[in-house]
């Protein structure tokens, strides 16, 4: 195989890169290599509408099959890159094939972190990252699994817990930190989500560590905690984050550790090798210039556009405003900006009304907002985040004053 641009990864980032290349007039050959057998599809619904059976898989496809064919974007699916030879500009694939590239776009995403304790490989232990993961989960639900244990109180875990409750399962959620959403949101929001999940019957245990998974006949039947207690389980969902898929690039000499380092045009330290999306560590202006990885659709899409433009000779620095969403029960959470590192959080509105926001400030500047059933704040806050605006906290906390008046 040989192509002017080889894209490694057929997720949101890879798909957006291929589309952006063609939209920006790139006429060369493009090959997309994907580990899964499926054409590029949306991952966020996997823990939401797809698991809840509100959407068919075909509705998740980012584009129909003929779209890729019509644009001469060759799909090489069901295989992955295992080695990169940057000197000869060649990648080796898991099936023994090789592909020579003019430019490589690494959009391989991440692998779900697995539990490292005994029993982690029992049947009935699931991640929520791919269609295959969720299809297996749904098959077990169909086969009668009713007791779900979710390990990890991040967005994936909470979304999955909400869907399992909707499907009538009992759900216990185990979180090692003192609260849910510890890595991604402030305490007010976390408390509200904990209370909401508990009100919907999710049994949330915080500050607990999983010591082992217990099995019977090769299938998980319980989750053993450090204090000796055992939570019975028909299935276990592990949502404890992802590890960036960058090993072949790092082995080839690319700079990076937790992710591969990229500059503002998404270039790695290797010649003609770009990296985008979940696996790309970049200095983000919304994180005060800190080098971070962002695991979001927004980041994958916007980095893809930045890389494609650079390849097409129209470089523009990646500095897109981060945004994110999560749907749980009747709650639509919408976030703009990055709250990590905030030193003050302010409640706007009353959580009891189920429509409110939490504003995050860092050294007096507006860095992020989490909006629950409050799209107005979400839309109006974008400008404040982009400007890192300085606004008096007492005004921000007054929900009667619209954010666009600040």
């Amino acid at each position: 195989m040989e192509a002017d641009v080889v894209i490694v990864g057929a997720g949101h980032g890879g798909a957006a890169a291929a589309i952006a290349l063609r939209q920006n007039g790139f006429a060369g050959s493009v090959v997309m290599i994907g580990r899964e057998a499926d054409l590029p599809y949306e991952r966020p619904p996997l823990s939401k509408e797809y698991l809840a059976r509100g959407k068919d898989f075909e509705q998740l496809l980012i584009r129909p099959a003929h779209f890729w064919a019509d644009r001469q974007i060759t799909m090489a699916l069901g295989r992955e890159v295992v080695a990169v030879d940057p000197t000869n500009k060649r990648v080796r694939l898991s099936n023994g094939e090789e592909a020579t590239y003019g430019t490589l776009i690494w959009a391989a995403g991440g692998d779900p972190r697995r539990l490292s304790c005994a029993g982690a490989d029992l049947a009935g232990v699931h991640a929520v990252r791919t269609r295959g993961d969720v299809d297996r989960l749904m098959a077990e639900l169909d086969a009668g699994a009713t007791r779900g244990v979710v390990v990890g109180g991040g967005y994936i875990g909470l979304e999955a817990a909400a869907v399992l409750r909707k499907l009538g399962c009992s759900v216990t959620l185990l979180e090692a930190q003192p609260r849910v959403l510890a890595r991604v949101a402030g305490t007010q929001l976390a408390r509200f989500y904990q209370e909401t999940h508990r009100a919907h019957g999710v049994d949330i245990w915080t500050g607990v560590s999983v010591e082992r998974l217990e099995g019977r006949d090769g299938r998980v039947c319980g989750v053993g905690l450090a204090d000796g207690s055992v939570v019975p389980a028909d299935l276990v969902i592990v949502g404890i984050g992802i590890a960036a898929c960058v090993a072949p690039l790092i082995a080839a000499g690319a700079a990076g550790s937790d992710g591969v380092n990229v500059d503002e045009q998404c270039r790695t330290s290797l010649l003609d090798v770009y990296a985008i999306g979940d696996c790309a560590a970049h200095a983000n202006v919304f994180a005060a210039g800190a080098v971070i990885r962002l695991e979001s659709v927004q980041n994958a899409n916007d980095m893809a556009v930045a890389a494609a433009k650079a390849i097409c000779g129209m470089p523009s620095a990646y500095k897109a405003t981060p945004w994110f969403w999560s749907n749980q029960f009747d709650l639509k959470l919408q976030t703009v900006g990055l709250s990590a590192g905030h030193d003050l959080s302010l409640l706007r509105g009353d959580p009891a009304t189920r429509s409110f926001s939490v504003v995050y400030l860092r050294r007096g500047r507006f860095v992020a907002i989490d909006c629950v059933n409050c799209t107005k704040d979400y839309v109006q806050a974008k400008r404040l985040v982009e400007a890192a605006a300085v606004v008096a906290p007492e005004r921000l906390a007054d929900a009667v004053i619209p954010l666009h008046d600040m």
Partner: protein, 105 residues
Amino acid sequence: MINLTVKTRDGVAHAVEGLAGRTLMEAIRKADLYELVAMCGGSCSCATCHVFVEAGPSGIDVPASEDESDLLDSSDYRAANSRLSCQIVLDPDLAGLVVQIAPES
């Protein structure tokens, strides 16, 4: 099948077929058009599926919800007939609908 017309940003009109119960966004995405990003996949969390309704039954050119209207406010190109195509659920009454894909904000 519900027959629709979607105009791309270059002004070209495309015949698009939609399914009842699915959204206009899905119909446009299934058709062979580049331009609709629809980044959030229909969660009403971005405004990248913004269209202008040029012809259709009365009322279809007015946002269905406050959330949709708020999101449309984020576009530099909001007009009186702006809609998010992910919020238009197709039904046979919408046969003949004509929409123009809005410029990128």
